[in-house]
Amino acid sequence: MGFDVGSVISAVLAGMVPRAMPALLAATGENVDEIGGILNLGVEGIMLMGCITAFLVDYATGSILLGFVAAGGVGMLFSFFHGVASITLRADQVVSGTAIWFIGWGLSGVLYVAAFGFSASPVKINTLASVSIPYLSGLPIVGQLIFGESPVFYLALVLIGGIQYFLYHTKPGLNLRTVGEDPRVAEMMGVNPIRYRYGALLFGGLLAGIGGAYITLVIVGSFDYDMTAGIGFVAVALVLFGKWRPWRVFIGALVFGGIYVLYLTLETALPSLPYQFLEMWPYLATLGFIVVVGKRANPPAALAKPYDRGE
């Protein structure tokens, strides 16, 4: 196959948003967690649980909506486990998060095998169709990029705007930011850090679960063992890249999605290149971002520090 720069670019533009969505949702949720001072490294596991839950529910009921709802619920449940360990029992958040990742990783695979056995051909479900906004989606490039997406994308835009407003223009948002900076001060000022941290964590779990569901219900249409392939960790990295600002995290996720599609496109365009090499790209780019940006990052001061109310 020939190599046409123009077609590569248009493929990247058309495909970046869907490919970005799982990381975008998970990163946005993780961002809220971290602003409240909780590092949730279990995102990867929670996303995998979202994948399998959405897949099973959709397979059983035929309802994509129910699939999303159930995946969000399971995401909240798993982030609640992380909360019990790291907020209530004050365990090390890295250890607890890693445990959540392992559980989600293993359990999602087990559930699939339990339901369908070891089959050579993957079980397929229907995926969510794109909603094209009439007329606007016909515009060149921009039309494809912005107005030809699945409804989840529009919801995500509203969501990020909403989170931005919540964090910087409401008192509960200020309180949450305070909890992430210094829970002792928050407590002194009449804010319950425990409640805020649980709230943020559950919200983050909801989004991670939905992000996982997006992979099965919108992109792939089937389940595969370890199918998130590290996107949950990319989400954690994107928060750092975005310096805990919702819109920067959003842009970071789109860039990640673009690089991901670029690798998929080049894989077909340049079959002579080893695919393992190309597969490495999105992650290498993420690592590169962190090295460049991370140095000057200014995380919430109480991030990943357990809060002991004490006396």
Binding site: L174, N175, R177, T178, E181, V185, M189
Partner: protein, 515 residues
């Protein structure tokens, strides 16, 4: 006075395990008064006020605020009834603006955060109470004095009628302290009641209307200020009179000096913390470095000791350039260091005093022979430190972390003094110590000087510096002033230099400030 007290605490008992921090304490606060709560460190002052503020719950006793009995479960409860407290560690978020800090956790029925309206409200409250604060500034960029104003303003904004300030002047320059006192007087005129927790006698005598003294958890004196003097307060605080004032200083012209030339040091954040500092510490001299915390003193000392690499400049010890030396070689060259962070940097708290005593000597005889520890000589060293420097501890096998702050510091200072060394770097060596231990530490440092050796002393306590140093340098934003000789010490002028005014040089009046 006939007025009904706004706060009445009766028979307050607060225990922490076996320690009784407050033992049947009675305390009354009248409307429109400034009340000094005086006592040494560990006397139970802060505990008592934390009980009033709802941080601790008393084991026994009753508290009434505004005439009715209360039982606060948290500081939020106390705030609701108009009791506010400024702790020594401020309850501020440094990355937030002043306005944002004011409204954290505030419940006024509105979920929306209308920051411009908040700013206007704050500006009004600030004007009324004569507190100069810009509500749009980010708190972390404000000086300690300004941050304290933000804390006070926050309490007023949230409706406090009773303000408790814990050691409010400990981190302030003399000017800032004077400003604070005039603010407190304004608040008193407006009918607010103020408690200042302090261990400084002159503060109690200069600003308070009434004074309550605590010693070992009990009230030893409570009276209106009129008629009180330093002696009466000292006796109530310590239970004895302090014998000597000042230090015995014999001048031995020491040999050699430690010179720092054009030193440039970057802080961890990459900021230039020390920009071209030069100084000379002569043997037989105490050279003081005054300055508000965070002006580069920490980085300067850490660079001299070798914890941070110098960007530019040289450090010369008796003619020997040690700029590129490792810490061990610096130790061997005769340098020593007493860091401010006792429990995290000076000792390993879970190890015994014995092993802590050779922290700076762990590689050579007689403590180590053929890579084996010589327990008997280490034990002898440790016992020597304990007895010579009055360290109160069950034995040399006790963990360093089990010692009280004062005893631990005496041990640390003693350890360094027992080494063969010539130049000592000390950062806030008496901070947090009670009067007795602080005195012993100071005396030890002066003794060291009297033996013809040098001390580079960084301290936030200007009185301490003025009473001990032969020469003084002021550090401000990474720059050092020219050395000020003892004959030209002027407390107010040095205080002004700590705030950045008159970077040039001292001249003119030479009033020696008392301590």
């Amino acid at each position: 006075m006939a007025a009904e007290p706004v706060v009445r605490m009766q028979g307050i008992v607060k225990r922490f395990g076996p320690v009784v921090a407050n033992d049947r304490v009675d305390f009354e606060l009248l409307p429109g008064e400034i009340h000094a709560l005086l006592g040494e460190n560990g006397a139970g002052k802060t505990t008592l006020m934390n009980v009033l503020y709802g941080v601790y719950r008393p084991d026994e006793g009753r508290i009434s605020v505004g005439g009715s009995e209360v039982s606060f479960r948290s500081s939020t409860d106390a705030q609701r009834l108009g009791v506010g407290m400024v702790h020594q560690h401020f309850s501020l978020i440094p990355v937030f603006t002043v306005a944002e800090n004011m409204v954290i956790g505030l419940r006024d029925g509105h979920r929306r955060l209308e920051i411009s309206k908040v700013k206007a409200d704050i500006a009004r409250t600030a004007r009324e109470s004569n507190l100069n604060v810009d509500p749009g500034k980010v708190v972390g960029q404000l000086s300690i004095g300004e941050q304290q104003r933000v804390e006070i303003l926050k309490l007023l904004y949230r409706g406090a009628a009773v303000l408790i300030l814990d050691e409010p002047t400990s981190a302030l320059t003399p000017q800032e302290a004077l400003d604070l006192f005039s603010t407190l007087k304004t608040l008193r005129e407006r009918g607010k009641s103020v408690v200042i927790i302090t261990h400084k006698l002159y503060e109690a005598l200069s600003i308070a209307d009434r004074v309550t003294v605590l010693r070992k958890g009990r009230v030893t004196l409570s009276s209106i200020r009129k008629g009180l003097d330093e002696e009466a307060l000292t006796e109530a605080m310590i239970g004895r009179r302090i014998e000597s004032k000042g230090f015995e200083r014999t001048t031995i012209a020491g040999q050699g000096s430690m010179r720092v030339e054009n030193l440039v040091v970057q802080s961890q954040g990459g900021r230039e913390a020390v920009s071209g500092a030069s100084m000379e510490l002569r043997a037989g001299e105490i050279l003081g470095i005054a300055g508000v915390a965070g002006n580069g003193q920490k980085e300067l000392i850490e660079c001299i000791f070798g914890l941070i690499r110098a960007r530019k400049g040289r450090i010369v010890l008796d003619g020997l350039d040690i700029t590129s030396y490792s810490i061990r070689k610096r130790l061997e060259a005769g340098l020593c260091y007493i860091p401010q962070e006792r429990k995290t940097r000076a000792v390993a708290i879970d190890m015994s005093l014995m092993f802590n005593s050779i922290m700076h000597d762990h590689w050579h005889e007689p403590y180590v022979r053929r890579e084996m520890l010589e327990e008997s000589s280490i034990r002898k060293l440790t016992k020597g430190i304990i007895s010579k420097f009055n360290v109160v501890t069950p034995s040399e096998n006790s963990k360093a972390g089990s010692l009280s702050g004062g005893n631990l510091q005496k041990f640390i200072v003693g350890r360094e003094m027992s080494r063969t060394m010539k130049y000592l770097l000390a950062v806030n060596p008496t901070s947090g110590l009670d009067v007795g231990a602080a005195d012993e530490v100071r005396k030890t440092l002066v003794d060291h000087r009297n033996q013809g050796k040098g001390v580079l002393l960084v301290s936030e306590d200007l009185d301490e510096l003025l009473s001990m140093c032969d020469e003084l340098i002021v550090m401000y934003r990474g720059k050092v002033s020219n050395p000020i000789p003892e004959s030209a010490f002027d407390k107010l002028k040095i205080g002004a230099m700590m705030l950045g005014s008159g970077q040039e040089q001292t001249a003119g009046s030479t009033v020696k400030a008392g301590s």
